[in-house]
């Protein structure tokens, strides 16, 4: 009995009862398909988040005041000011810092021509903020340093704000009323992807001087956004910035700093790790369905062996060895599972073309190989018990079986 013969016998066994074989194959198909597809969904989500965080800028650091448990007990100021931002741009002490933008943020109601809208992020900053945060201007022009110096009341609005206030477009050049102050729209920002729950397009960006003068007052700034030379130098920039801040704010205890430096790259890796856990979880759930499919194979092979006891007896009487019978039924189980695995992979590849729960699945090639490999193993493992039962049948009893 060569391999070809064995496989032919097995195929004949599989096709003998097409409905039953088909249902068994379906069990494996669903298992393998689910593993590949759910891993693809997890992977797709991961990639989407990664893209969005990269869109936010992975080479930026965000400094906020805070921390410093006993900060209030001392008389020294721990507030962030625009002057601190200026001090951070220091080629000698901080060679990896390109720019540092002071940012004040507020949430304001804006009105244009009787239309009201709440701008959840009304940002006052300097022009360097735009490249640091990956904002680009779709129409109109960004404001300049001289606009900041002059405190001109001009504003760049995000896509959401534009569609809220100017449903018919043509925002550039119009004046909107923000908390009683008139701001002239000089540009509309390009669409920006989301990394979290907030809508990054529900934003308006104006010169910091104008915002402080008319909306927030001259308190401390909410944050300072630092742009590093490139994504690889973010950690170095973080150390340099921390050093300068410690000097500026006269921090004596470095373990108890009155500020926090948030690193986007760290945020990215945290999010990615979370999603990896999520993907593993999905794969585990799918793996359980593969296991159930495997049990289906055992079940159907047991039925097949019982049903074909007499045939096994005949084959043994004609000189089939134990091993021949064992191989025949093992191959039969494996044919079922491999067929299920291959169809499952195809189903998953087709399914991955659609958006699932708002996520575009991204197939992981290794998951396809793994799932098919596992399905072969499933066939061998779950087929081995029925096959060994068949092989160890005694010919006289098998022949007598009705």
């Amino acid at each position: 009995m060569n391999a070809y013969e064995t496989i032919r016998f097995a195929l004949r066994g599989v096709t003998a009862n097409k409905l039953r074989s088909g249902l068994t194959v379906l069990g494996i198909l669903i298992g393998v398909g689910a593993v590949i597809l759910l891993v693809a969904v997890g992977n797709g989500a991961q990639q989407a988040i990664q893209r969005n965080i990269e869109a936010l800028g992975t080479n930026t650091l965000t400094i906020t005041s805070g921390g410093g448990r006993n900060a209030g007990a001392t008389s020294r100021s721990t507030q962030l000011t625009p002057e601190i931002a200026t001090a951070l741009v220091n080629h000698a002490m901080a060679p990896d810092v390109i720019s540092a933008s002071p940012v004040v943020t507020t949430s304001e109601d804006a009105t244009y021509n009787g239309t009201d809208a709440t701008i959840s992020q009304f940002v006052g900053t300097v022009p360097e903020y735009l490249p640091a945060e990956n904002y680009s201007v779709a129409s109109g022009a960004p404001f300049t340093t001289s606009d900041v110096t002059a405190g001109r009341k001009i504003v760049l609005i995000g896509q959401t704000v534009q569609s809220d206030l100017f449903p018919d477009g043509g925002a550039v050049g119009k004046q909107i009323t923000v908390n009683g102050t008139l701001f002239t729209v000089v540009g509309v920002l390009a669409n920006k992807g989301s990394a979290g729950f907030a809508d990054p397009n529900d934003v308006a960006i104006a010169p910091i001087s104008a915002v402080r003068a008319s909306l927030t007052g001259y308190g401390s700034v909410s944050q300072i956004v630092v742009e590093a030379r490139n994504a690889d130098r973010v950690d170095a920039a973080q150390n340099e910035v921390t050093g300068i801040l410690n000097t500026e704010l006269k921090v004596t205890d470095p373990t108890n700093e009155p500020f926090r430096v948030l690193n986007q790259a760290q945020l990215l890796s945290t999010r990615t790790n979370t999603l990896k856990t999520f993907t593993v979880l999905l794969a585990a759930v799918a793996g359980i369905s593969l296991l159930v499919g495997g049990i289906g194979i055992t079940n159907i092979m047991m039925v097949t062996v019982t049903e074909r006891t007499r045939e096994i007896g005949i084959r043994k009487a004609l000189g089939a060895r134990r091993r021949t019978i064992l191989t025949q039924f093992l191959v039969e189980a494996t044919v079922l599972s491999v067929l299920g695995g291959a169809l499952g992979a195809i189903a998953a590849l087709v399914g991955a073309q659609f958006t699932i729960a708002g996520i575009a699945p991204a197939i992981v090639p290794s998951s396809v190989l793994l799932a098919i490999g596992v399905s072969v193993a499933v066939g061998l493992f779950f087929g081995s018990y029925p096959a060994s039962r068949a092989a160890s049948l005694r010919p006289i009893e098998a022949l007598r079986y009705e």
Binding site: E311, L318, A320, I396
Partner: protein, 266 residues
């Protein structure tokens, strides 16, 4: 213990199953059963199916074994067919002691030296007559082309050359049994063992199958046939009757083919 000794004295002749065949044809009986005992269970509940059966079958003979149900003829058939091993005694098939062989060797013996014909035909369902006949050759590891040729020849021999591609369900009972006969003789076994081959057949099909068996025997095949029908037993050259696991009569009706010149007894 016996198995070791038996194993070693079997080893030589079993080396090549066909080596000794030609030279020793005249001297060695095809099968030799010596005081074979088969007991199922033990203690008080033991069932003695065979209580010491001894006989020999010469090459070319056609033996019918008769007996009522429960006489042990099925047990004897299973032992002769190497489907079961005796509890005691010796069984030499073609000079090889097969009474204490392991499973793997028994499978080989069944494949090479015995051809089975069963009462219920026992063809593999949904498989063509041709493929059914090829099956024992496939288990023997024969190449597809040669296998095909031999199976074809065997089917021609039983008069079913034109039915080779029919599945068992498309054949009459008599035709199915003739396919089974073709399958039994395709390996050119030392012994064709037929267990009530006409038990499930009408009289016409019975005649067909018996004619095939007669023809086989005339061409030199050794046949052992188990039956409870006297008409069927009449085709044999020799009749053995079993009662309660013992041979009660052993009568020769017709001479062995190569003894035909000598005077017939009985």
């Amino acid at each position: 213990m016996a198995p070791v000794a038996a194993g070693s004295d079997v080893a030589q002749p079993a080396g090549d199953p066909r080596a000794g065949l030609r030279t020793e044809t005249a001297i060695r009986p095809v099968l030799h059963v010596e005081n074979v005992v088969k007991t199922y269970g033990d203690g008080d509940t033991a069932v003695h199916a065979l209580r010491g059966v001894s006989f020999s079958v010469e090459r070319g003979d056609y033996v019918a074994i008769m007996g009522a149900s429960g006489s042990g003829k099925s047990t004897l058939m299973n032992i002769l067919g190497c489907l079961d091993i005796p509890s005691g005694g010796r069984y030499l098939l073609d000079g090889v002691d097969v009474s204490r062989l392991e499973d793997r060797r028994l499978a080989l013996i069944r494949n090479r030296r015995i051809g089975f014909v069963f009462q219920s035909f026992n063809l593999i369902p949904r498989t063509t007559a041709q493929a059914n006949v090829e099956l024992p050759l496939a288990y023997a590891g024969m190449k597809a082309r040669e296998r095909h040729r031999r199976a074809r020849a065997a089917l021609e021999l039983v008069g079913l050359g034109d039915r080779a591609n029919h599945e068992p369900s498309k054949l009459s009972g008599g035709q199915q049994q003739r396919v089974a006969v073709a399958r039994a003789l395709v390996t050119a076994p030392a012994l064709v063992l037929a267990d009530e081959p006409t038990g499930n057949l009408d009289s016409h099909s019975t005649a067909e199958v018996l004619a095939v068996l007669d023809r086989l025997n005339q061409s030199g095949r050794t046949i052992v046939l188990i039956t409870h029908e006297p008409d069927v037993a009449d085709h044999a050259r020799r009749l053995i009757r079993l009662v309660d696991g013992r041979i009660v009569t052993d009568v020769r009706h017709r001479p062995l083919p190569y003894l035909q010149r000598t005077v017939t007894v009985a």
